[in-house]
Symmetry: C2
Subunit: 353 residues, 2 copies
Amino acid sequence: MANSSKKKATIYDLSVLSGSSPSTVSAVLNGTWRKRRIKASTAELIQSLAETHQYTANRQARGLRSSRSGLVGLLLPVHDNRYFSSLAQTFEAHVRSKGQCPIVVSASRDPDEERKTAATLISYSIDELFICGATDPDGVHEVCEAAGLKHINIDLPGTKVPSVISDNFEGGRLLTEAIIRHFPADRPLQPNDLYLFGGRNDHASHERIRGFRAVKKELLGGDPDECIQPTGYAANNARRAFEAFFARHGKLPRGLFVNSSINFEGLLRFMAGHPHDNFADLVVGCYDYDPFASFLPFPVIMIRQDVEGMIAKAFEVIEELRPPPQIHLVQPELVPPRTALTGPLDALKDIDR
Amino acid sequence: MANSSKKKATIYDLSVLSGSSPSTVSAVLNGTWRKRRIKASTAELIQSLAETHQYTANRQARGLRSSRSGLVGLLLPVHDNRYFSSLAQTFEAHVRSKGQCPIVVSASRDPDEERKTAATLISYSIDELFICGATDPDGVHEVCEAAGLKHINIDLPGTKVPSVISDNFEGGRLLTEAIIRHFPADRPLQPNDLYLFGGRNDHASHERIRGFRAVKKELLGGDPDECIQPTGYAANNARRAFEAFFARHGKLPRGLFVNSSINFEGLLRFMAGHPHDNFADLVVGCYDYDPFASFLPFPVIMIRQDVEGMIAKAFEVIEELRPPPQIHLVQPELVPPRTALTGPLDALKDIDR
DNA sequence: AGTCTTTGCACCATCGATTGTGCAAATAAG
DNA sequence: CTTATTTGCACAATCGATGGTGCAAAGACT
């Protein structure tokens, strides 16, 4: 409460204290002082003053002048999901390692909110925007383009700038094949036993479904259309779809391809209301990885997307000068049942104990 | 590419276009124009110009002048965790509903990084900071205090400003009692059968442990010290602790109180390496809720913290003038096995299909 | 000693919005 | 028709940092 009082020190304060001009102080504190031929002793004086007075630059002022902010944005569909939150975690680490400040915001898969959110971020002069899982990536692109903001798509592709996404076709194939092969040869799956639930009208779902159908036709020799049940990315929609199926058939399909952990939660909600033994012969493949889901009391085969790989690739591509609007595929990984993989949190050192 | 070209429109552009002064334009666009007695027709003209030229205010300039930014910060330990990410999700909705912009950042439970991160946020002139699960809340407080920034603690309490946290003592009691009562009367739990794994040297763990020990002594009549095994909030530490126990006793305790889903993941990692039948008689209580964990092939009793309640309370308290540094307890909820609860995502409308 | 070069720094405009103040023109009051 | 009031807006300082430019003093060189 004494001297280092209420208001933050500015270069003007330090200018008075050091007897130098504000511009000299600025140059010293932003590192350009050698280029400006400031004497080392002057620099040291100012730096020590800055230290004792706890100077930190006002980023709004700096950003206003330089029209950069040091902020890097990540636009997510939602936070509350292990896939997206691990993307956020990994993204943050990358941004921080470049000395910038991550700003993670969600837009609920609403195209309108996506654009508005992007506009808000732009009004803070963010330096780059990573558009992740957007429902309308090209709509967000327009907004960014108009502001001259560098941006890139992740998870769901757009057509105007590069996109880094999972190889959903291959992942869909892998998962479908694993589900089918998980059934013993003496009780093989029939084409009508294997359903895909979840997903919506987006690129990822389309590709996964394409992979699903291709493998199904190849291995089971049939692929009825009704086996595809898109439900959107909402747990309760998925639950209703399972209820509807159950109402019609008195059971679930023996093999389930569940498109995303959110839809899998819908399956849980269904299960909570039905006796256990309905699921004795069930094999679930889920396009997403969750360690707890992997240990459920029926075989759960999962796909883990390569979050670290996607983020790394995205940072690599966004640094390029004028990258073509190309799709970069990153291979996902098949995870057998009862597998506990490590994640981004394992990279953190644990502090006490 | 035509006229609405590369650079963003400013009040000066609109000033020229409208024939008014920049200050008039500013007043019209920030809503203070009535107070400034601007003619309605002038305001309408400027507003329509702003519309057609897609004007959005430069927030850095506004923030510089007004020393407010419209940014509200949330400092998290980590993103990649359902508890914290649902806090983020809920926080975001609250901030957005107030017309401000949420900025969610994690600091890895590192006290030093917590302070640095807070300082960074402050340099962007954020308006408020919610300090969630900080290892050193009072350290962050110093930084905020020095900058005159309103702040509040969530999840882990500090001593300088109000804190909104779960009633961990009560939650610990509830969970412990539920674990004990889950065992049939003919094979009751012995004091040596019930262990607590996980947590660290923080307020939450202390309180949960206090609740655990109180109930244990009360219901089981004993409470050996070795039954408390703090492992930090790291999955691999927890795994090692389970391995160590198993090496000594050839089995796990029949009853497990697992302090957080992160530690529960450590249990999964342990389980992945051991045959299934080691867990036939196991009951797990976990201080955290995860829908998938709730359906694991052994009874899992969970605690769900009232995320919505905590966030709402925190926003309520932070708006008060000079709130005393008091702890506000929010009651958590006991979740029986095989329960699929809804979460913040269920509030979102699903767009297509 | 005189000229040229280098060193070291100060000055000032600038980024875009906000806001206190001042002052004409329009209107009302007498 | 004159004075008082209200209306409607422009002016200019300000927030804090940046970076181009200019210029005096110190040093090098002939």
